[in-house]
Symmetry: D2
Subunit: 342 residues, 4 copies
């Protein structure tokens, strides 16, 4: 099988580095292009990306010359976008128009009517929007997006509970630093502290969830009729968003029934390379999940749940830059490939 | 005015030290006895209490010889109890029986029908239970208790909203390390981590709240008819519990009306030395309150609120070992004195 | 006595806020001008300085309109400078030329031959350089500087040991985050980590020390003949630089003699408002000093020492933005006033 | 090849768990016995060892029943000891007497004249002491020890510099929390703080180093004539001790010569399974090594050095519970096996 040639837009930042790390040994994808902003263009990747992962950057990738985020300069079939939202709006359209498949982690296109907002285990049928998108916009390529990191972790667990009739969700998050980017949170802001506001985060959780759990009628996605109320907070954790949820359901399931639903949840996507053995891992210990101990479960692609109590209340925790960002886009791209779109 | 002679039971621990710190210069109380467990008895307080407050331990207090927790050995009118719960059950009764007023931070007697569980600004009329208590038990003294730290911070804000008709409360806490005592949380447990379970904490918040907001009918307290659901978590913060709350109220007030209720809340207790200028401080900045910046507001006795949003959602934050523990007991004692009980 | 009118240049930053905090209630100085960069000019101080101290910003100061860093616009007798080094080089000269006394925390002028680099308890006689400075430069005003934060803490302790004949010093620092400014260290850089390089810090400690301990011959300062070797590191501490020192001395004193020298050190400056009761506090506990417990000793103006061992090895610790920055400049200004220069 | 049957004494603690993790897949060793204190005996390992490693405990190991630390109950050829020092003194002798090879991480026997204190890359010839030991003590088995974690990291780098004539060493450490055991450092002790004293740590670094670098004359080890002066400190880092060193050498090498010596250091032990590709990794970036980024280099068995400056000063950093504890014992055992002793 020929490997798909892929590039990364915004390759030098925190999420961009995660993309690179996940793509270096990917069985289906071959990393052929690293693109970033003007000040990095023409330089070696290892000189401009301050590599911070434990695993060393492979030297052949480090030697790559950084390209501009210009469809004419990037040689690839698909590009992953870790661009900032303002830039993504313009650039991703240019790539889609030029025939690229764009798998984007940026928020810019998530809520457009003709753009799929996807979690492969949750709403794969929303991929049908791509036809609408190409018809509407006249693009040869297309854009598929994944949700905000906090939303992905929550909605993956909600998907397992759909059968009980979701009615309302309240969620309080304790989010990791990496969600804000490497320079996003000053150490003086968070040491011995909690930050009680993350700009736009509550809004994203409250709107993206409705689209993700909505129904695709062949033309568009009808938002799910669920009420979502979020309170988002930052804590001194490197990676791994922890979320305390209250979920009201029509069928009023018991904690044990909820546990079974989590435990039995399987989207049957195990032919995708990045799909973990278990999408949702149920921890029965009373003090789990914990971000430091559980964030790397399933290669960072599993969501761990625990403390399922009357209410229904439970804790969900997942790796925000893997399952919640780069891995989410890669999984979307793998699904596209499996479906023959790529 | 003669100053009231007070002692501290469990004086060497974390909350015990807070008591000592608050009593050293108290205008009404004179610290006359420091009592602790067997291994400290007979030694100088400065040698057995590993003093950790920024403010130096006054040398005359440090020179005090530690007494046993024995009513026959403690010379005082009132004792503050920072004893562990198992010990408190027995010892506090002995002191009350021997004629002492016991102002206890321990959980042992909080939920007994004849023991007042008090926040002076919330339910001062519950002091009426003391007569019932003395009648029932035949004590010359009495026991008055304050709630768990997380409960105090929450309920102080709920008290301001009672006029709207409280119906249900959901609360997710991000609690400080000091709530578990000095040795309570290992550094390896919390660095780069969140702990998603605090033993008994959710239960305390859910039961104590109903008693605190209940009605005293002259004989007993009728629990308030409110539904409280808590999810309690520990984060890497030294002092200051942060709480994200959702409160449903019969009158469905707007965020602005809730803000006004917080802002206007005044229990009119300013003749008590430990009462802060404002019980509830409303922060209008979108990123406040924060534990590091706001925990010492009002000498640690104010509760700060912010981010009042539709829902009604808001953030409450207070100092867990001052307003939430030692200061709570001291304020109770001050109220007892004002009411002529002491 | 008329109070001296003082301004702060660079008033919105971390050290600038410390200056404001120290000057609000100063008995000799009256804060009459807050100056900052273009983007803050014309706005209220409370709107542009994100105030982060525990103590609330007094509202009358918060209402002040921020001025440009322009000698023509600032109405004051003395200005404290918390400007960045590149800007300070130009601006401080302009103020000095316009007749202002400039007490600067910036590094720009520290090592100029005609500029006093001062710690009042260490080398007050270096003030004599001001005459040289005014002669040379034709300024009506003048510039006096204080050393780098790490240097101040170390040299204050070395000053107490001069009588033993200082020969060489090796110092390993564990420096606080606030030394880098509020945005200086990303949380992702320091959580669960140590940073082993602080740009220019070792160089400053090695050169400034020689000037500080040097001899003023009426014309210039002859560097002390001491060898200083520094290794500087950043740790996850908010405030308070901890330093492990090895000091070789001609007279080879015992630890007990060194302890006595520290204990007896008194520069007799207690008529200066910011001078702490003890410049050097000796901690005899084997686990002190610690930054969290000891940084605010003497209002943040004392340096704490401990663990004096054979070698001679010891630990020195002080508050880096009070004793090591804003407080250092204020103390210099107080000395200038006492000497009649202001 | 038959695999060597090995046991772990003190298997439930922090270092014990590290042993288990390293032995589960070991190519030469088969884990046949988990022994621990009375309160764990007879219970399943997964129920008594609160497993905290990211990698899940293999279920077949978790199901093992914990044995007493009794030579009659442990079925193995070699035992690794993670026992506390007081217990190790008695128990390790019992095992050695009963014919076991004991590879101990405890400090109890390190400084005995007839016990090898070993780092395979540094002083493999000290194994000769085992004959002396068996002659003297009449044991069928034997005890071999590895140094304290801080000492190992330092001495591994010093070994590379022996050719220059080591004269004196000064070292300031910034040590990780895991070095004190899981419950060793309370979170309230270290958050926003540095601890300036680690009991016995400086003494260990100063004495163990002399034995490690000493010469074995066939009968005993003659201490190296080097002066070592240590100042040991604890910082808020999970794993990875960072050390700032000053090393004086007879030949006065340049930083570049020192760098070459580090870079070229190879003990030629690559037939040992736990030997990393590079014992010493030289980092040329000005801000490396850092514990979070570099502690897992070489599977946690490499020591990283950087910032080699005039002085000679440099930074050494290594994983304290792998290279500095469990991995050190395992490497010793591998060397014993290679030498035919096991």
């Amino acid at each position: 099988m020929d490997r798909i040639r892929v590039g990364v837009l915004g390759a030098t930042g925190n999420v961009g580095q995660q993309f690179v790390g996940m793509l270096v040994d990917h069985p289906w994808f071959e990393l052929t292009a690293l693109a970033a902003s003007e000040r990095s263009v023409g330089k070696r990747y290892c000189d401009v990306a301050k590599w911070r992962a434990e695993r060393e950057l492979p030297s052949e990738v480090g030697e790559e010359v950084v390209l501009p985020v210009d469809p004419g300069k990037v040689d690839a079939d698909l590009v992953f976008s870790a661009l900032p939202a303002d830039l993504a709006l313009k650039v991703e359209a240019e790539f889609a128009d030029a025939g690229f498949v764009v798998a984007s982690n940026a928020r810019s296109y998530r809520m457009f009517d003709d753009v799929p907002l996807m979690i492969p285990e949750v709403n794969p049928e929303h991929l049908g929007l791509l036809e609408v998108q190409q018809d509407t916009r006249g693009w040869d390529g297309c854009i598929v997006t994944n949700p905000n990191c906090s939303t992905i972790i929550m909605v993956t667990t909600l998907a397992a509970l759909r059968g009980f009739g979701l009615e309302s969700v309240q969620v309080a998050t304790m989010q990791a630093l990496s969600g804000a980017g490497y320079e996003g949170v000053a150490s003086m802001a968070i040491l011995d502290n909690v930050l009680v506001h993350i700009p736009m985060e509550e809004e994203k959780m409250e709107t993206e969830t409705l689209k993700l759990l909505g129904e695709f009628d062949g033309e568009r996605v009808i938002d799910a009729e669920i009420s979502v109320s979020a309170s988002c907070h930052r804590v001194a954790v490197m990676d791994g968003h922890t979320e305390a949820l209250w979920v009201k359901m029509r069928d009023d399931p018991t904690p044990e029934e909820v546990r079974e639903a989590f435990h039995g949840f399987d989207a049957d996507l195990h032919d995708l390379p990045s799909e973990p053995e278990r999408v949702i891992i149920v921890r029965d210990e009373e003090d789990r999940p914990q971000p430091r101990l559980d964030r790397n479960a399933g290669g960072g692609m599993s969501v761990s749940v625990g403390r399922i109590r009357e209410g229904i209340r439970y804790i969900a925790m997942g790796h925000n830059t893997i399952r919640g960002a780069a891995g989410a886009s890669v999984l979307n791209a793998e699904l596209l490939h499996k479906k023959g779109i790529l």
